[in-house]
Symmetry: C2
Subunit: 468 residues, 2 copies
Amino acid sequence: MSIQQLFTTPLRVVNVGIETFKDVCEQYAPPAIQVDWSPPVDVSPAAEACLAKNAAKIDTANQKVMEIILSGTPHLIGLDIARNVIPGMTDDTILHAGPPVTWDRMCGPMRGGVMAGLVYEGRASSIDEAETLAASGTIHYAPCHEHGTVGPMAGIVTPSMPVWILKNEAYGNLAYCTLNEGLGKVLRYGAFGDEVTRRLKWMETTLYPILKAAVAHTGPIDLKNMIAQALHMGDEVHNRNRAGTSLLYRAIAPAILATCEDKDDAIAVLEFINNNDHFFLNLSMPACKATLDAARDIKGSSIALVMARNGTDFGIQLAGTGDVWFTAPADVPDALYFAGFSKDDANPDIGDSAITETGGLGGFAIAAAPAIVQFVGGVAADALRYTHQMYEITAGESRMYQIPSLDFRGTPTGIDVRKVVDRNRVPVIDTGVAHKTAGVGQVGAGLVNAPMAPFAQAYEALAKLLKR
Amino acid sequence: MSIQQLFTTPLRVVNVGIETFKDVCEQYAPPAIQVDWSPPVDVSPAAEACLAKNAAKIDTANQKVMEIILSGTPHLIGLDIARNVIPGMTDDTILHAGPPVTWDRMCGPMRGGVMAGLVYEGRASSIDEAETLAASGTIHYAPCHEHGTVGPMAGIVTPSMPVWILKNEAYGNLAYCTLNEGLGKVLRYGAFGDEVTRRLKWMETTLYPILKAAVAHTGPIDLKNMIAQALHMGDEVHNRNRAGTSLLYRAIAPAILATCEDKDDAIAVLEFINNNDHFFLNLSMPACKATLDAARDIKGSSIALVMARNGTDFGIQLAGTGDVWFTAPADVPDALYFAGFSKDDANPDIGDSAITETGGLGGFAIAAAPAIVQFVGGVAADALRYTHQMYEITAGESRMYQIPSLDFRGTPTGIDVRKVVDRNRVPVIDTGVAHKTAGVGQVGAGLVNAPMAPFAQAYEALAKLLKR
């Protein structure tokens, strides 16, 4: 184009950077478009140079990790009591969501969950007694993730709780998760009291043995297939699990009939599941955990295998950095709050459920579940946009989990910390919101962005390992 | 714009009409876009003038019809045997899909269904004997639609068949439909033989009494709500019913447990439903029938209350033209054919299931179920396009049935024959495809356009009535 042409043809502006420049253009000139771009995250030039130099090596490692993740085949193989099966679980162990946290740094809902758990275990006869015991040093707190386990919200697992057992049939590793309690006053949102304890006891004495017998009767249930179907049915299997719950229900109801001698109990179990469209969440989460755990300790890989929050800190782990947690303070979610509650009541982001996003589901697959963005005041196009953005920071696409409205494109899978840093784009996470005070429970649900700091730390740490 | 400007600025072409003109433009000039427009259908100037003159009157009548359709509340209230409940059903009656048709004009699969029905009833001991009886004049054939009933594909209802009973609670009218047999060798696709008869007998003696007791136990089930949920879960409740079937299953399984004394039979019933994702179709169809029938005989209305095919003719009825059928030969669907079959094997379009499109579901709601267009080789954008096109020919939008990917816009509802004619745009229908020969069964599934002729006839007939 000649200079002359430049001044005789209409100006069309594409702006990269500060958005106000585009606004000024629009005042004086024809339409301008804003490129969705942010400057890269501020990481050390040494780390940047190291990762650039080792790009091919990292790519190879990531390829290996992605092959493991994409070929994982999580199956539900049974149920048992936590103390019998979770590795390293002692009578004094309480597992919790997110990265490690001590009692004194625990947020309100996690403390509430711990206290509810101690009352449920019969270790304390009141919440006050439970609080004393919880702070006494007797109890060993550990992240679920470090015991092959995941837990939604507070993620509290005590020794007597029944757990689902999942096996990644392709790689042989196991994963565990408690059974979902439903909504209302529930331990995972930090609520306690008779209602909470009674339900947990019923789950242990009625729900658990009936489900255990039913799953023994059906044989292993292919959860990868079930999640894939659920995505075709409007779930993203994090904040929306109606389809997954329905498909699980269909799969096990005949087995419950076949194996349960007490008709009233069998009906109660079916009704319990039918009344809780989140029941499947506690299977989609360990399905992702089992899938991702198989790719641990692949040297040089920049793929995240864990994103988890304890309500105080947000932490991540990479395939290439072993068991190290990279953490930063958890943010308070932008959410739709229940009547009578606001962001002031909300606890910062909490729960292991971000394992679904880490596995290419949840917020990453939200285009499959536009109902969720509507729930928080967005539109269907927002859901598409979130999923499209996640393709920018992932290393691959699922071969099994698909988004119908994107012509069955595989969901964005395998968060590459390099892309997160380079594009200055953090993962988007669907989430429930707990009240910040122990004993209250859920106050909302919404979307939250992961903080950037853990990704930047992981980036630096990977560089240091690669330099050795 | 001055003449000079016209020749100095880039030419941008918008073409209306013959599309090749646009193609020529594109060879020599910048991009041209084609307006999706067809000349109006050739109807008589007198009818056109009459409908134009009476536009306000028709609009008022249509408003009344739409209010009835949009406020209909179909509930499942029970089951019974056809002869006990379907009005006018005698021991010699066989109901069939679509507009009226005599034995000699019946297509292969409908004949197959009739013969299978006579063997099932014990009226004939072989298919040959059944054929003789079917042609003898003893049997009274009548459209399902004229007996408050709808039937998928051949739509055969014989006196001993169990039927769902639905009530439009808002208006008190009832509708009926047989239970879905599943896939494979089934009567509704014109198949016959021992397998078909055995299944029908099991449905009558085991499935029916168990479901009847279960529905009596649950009380009325709100199908409008269930269909609305199914649309949020990827169904359009015509060719895709996985979600609807799941939700129904969840609703009745506990009641089956509570009421069925024979454990093996209860399990068999649950497995039968679980193995047939089309089970809900035979509820979504009568739900539409019950909803639309409440709006019959509203003088002056140009809204279609029935679209139905008997495999020979395609017929429609309007709210404003009473019980008159407007018919034309049914087309052979463009479909995805099962291995070993082609369009040459296919019977023309058949079944009352187009009642779902008439009620704003099925093909009209296909944007909610992109999986279906993929099944016939299309893409998600095609599904959106079909639904958008149906907004052009409908009088309103559902207040309950919504399409998530269109930000929960109500489905296009209430086919206005004026708009069909003016826009030269016919309804799009999801459909299964039967082999043209009796006894074979299903050979494919796909999409079909309604023929224009019945709409043009209805247009003329409405004009004649308005002139009186």
